[in-house]
């Protein structure tokens, strides 16, 4: 690289990422092939909440130990092979981020880390936010997550170094001719279903309650030679959770009352 990349200033509010030449791409391929030493990572904070940083440091702790793959976090961009951009790129942190990109020696691999780095996350439409590190620098790997777990971080690093392949693919669906939604719990009357869901959610909270009600209605709706009581006992024995036992006993009472009333 004879001439440094020109930093294009944002025009009409639209940021322009730094362009990479073809020579640069070739060099990057060469780096991945011929790297015979540790890959040094420098973490660039572009205005994040620090959640991502905490997970990056969790990834280099003994439990996950990214350093056994030679991934080492360094303190200066001048030592770095991989730049890890976290945060949604705020107006104030845009120039420091570009400066650290310029400071890193070529060829370098840029990784967009976390939901904010990939597309702005929950900050994507704020006035002072560029919305993603790909708006300022060319990105090679995107690691989504808020924040990504240490395991996801290690997977992302391995992808950036070309050790593991990509699993996720874009998908597209177009509504078919006779596509119809499968009704949930067709065997249970709607009124009873509402009663049970309400009680389960009252006792266990919105999400867990819905899960418990779903399990219970599944048992209630299936027809089998065994009695309902026996099947519920079997389910409770399998889960062996006193809290669940209490909730399900309550649900049983409600359903027997409702069935007796009809």
């Amino acid at each position: 690289m004879n001439e440094p990349d020109k930093i294009i200033l944002p025009g009409n509010g639209m940021p322009q990422p730094i362009k990479q030449s073809e020579e640069f791409q070739n060099l990057k391929g060469q780096l991945l092939k011929d790297i015979r030493r540790s890959a040094y990572v420098y973490r660039v904070d572009c205005g994040g909440c620090n959640g991502c940083e905490i997970e990056i440091f969790a990834a280099i702790t003994p439990i996950f130990d990214a350093e056994r793959f030679g991934i080492k976090v360094v303190a200066s961009p001048r030592h770095a092979d991989i730049l890890l951009f976290t945060g949604a790129v705020t107006r104030a942190m845009r120039m420091p981020a570009i400066r650290s990109y310029e400071a890193a020696p070529d060829p370098k691999i840029c990784v967009s880390y976390g939901a904010c780095g990939c597309g702005g996350g929950i900050f994507h439409d704020l006035y002072c936010v560029w919305g993603g590190s790909d708006k300022i620098v060319p990105i090679d790997v995107y690691i989504p997550g808020c924040p990504p777990t240490p395991a996801a971080t290690i997977y992302g690093f391995a992808m950036a170094l070309g050790l593991l392949g990509q699993k996720l693919k874009a998908s597209s669906h177009i509504q078919g001719e006779s596509e119809r939604v499968v009704m949930r719990h067709p065997g249970v009357p709607v009124e009873l279903r509402v009663l049970i869901e309400r009680e389960a959610r009252r006792m266990a909270g919105y999400r867990m309650g819905a899960d418990i009600a779903d399990d219970f209605l599944g048992i209630l709706g299936t027809k089998s030679s065994e009695g309902l009581e026996a099947r519920i006992q079997e389910y409770l024995a399998k889960e062996s959770d006193p809290r669940l036992t209490e909730i399900v006993t309550n649900l049983c009472e409600i359903s027997t009352k409702a069935i007796a009333a009809n």
Partner: protein
Amino acid sequence: MLKLFKTILKTGEATLKYPFAPMPISPGFRGKPEYKPEQCIACGACAIACPSNALSMSANVEAGEHTWQLFLGNCIFCGRCEEVCPTKAIVLSQEFELAVGNKNDLFQNATFKIANCTCCEKPFAPQKEIEYTADLLKQTGMSAEAVEACRDQLQTCADCKRKQSMRATDKVELTGFMQKGNEA
């Protein structure tokens, strides 16, 4: 020195084997939202609940299509879409290996047909949502014939319904609540 070795032996190896062995994941882990387009009624509840607008719905009225889109890059894995989904079309899975090289791979979309209002012929609601309502009515105990009889009503937009109820003035009871009070 010997004491140190003893401690090391007792502690064993703390480091997880991942990525050479599968990662142990606890139940309730919120990973990639797994979407079943066949089960989706395109009601848009998830798009309203999504705090980071990773889920969005857009209508193309000319083509009569309603498109659901998930941009995983913005997803914060909060699970609100799972909470609000009436048909369990979207459920958070245990999948966490989501890194991609190409940003386009973070997008998922599904296109649904919009049904027109039977009265004014304007685009009204996703076809699958209307079918789901009919199925739900059947589940509440209405006979299939009765549901078929009110199908026109199901597929009429709010504007047309308002106009129709104004036309049938003999059915409008302005003093209904007063009469109800007298009876009690």
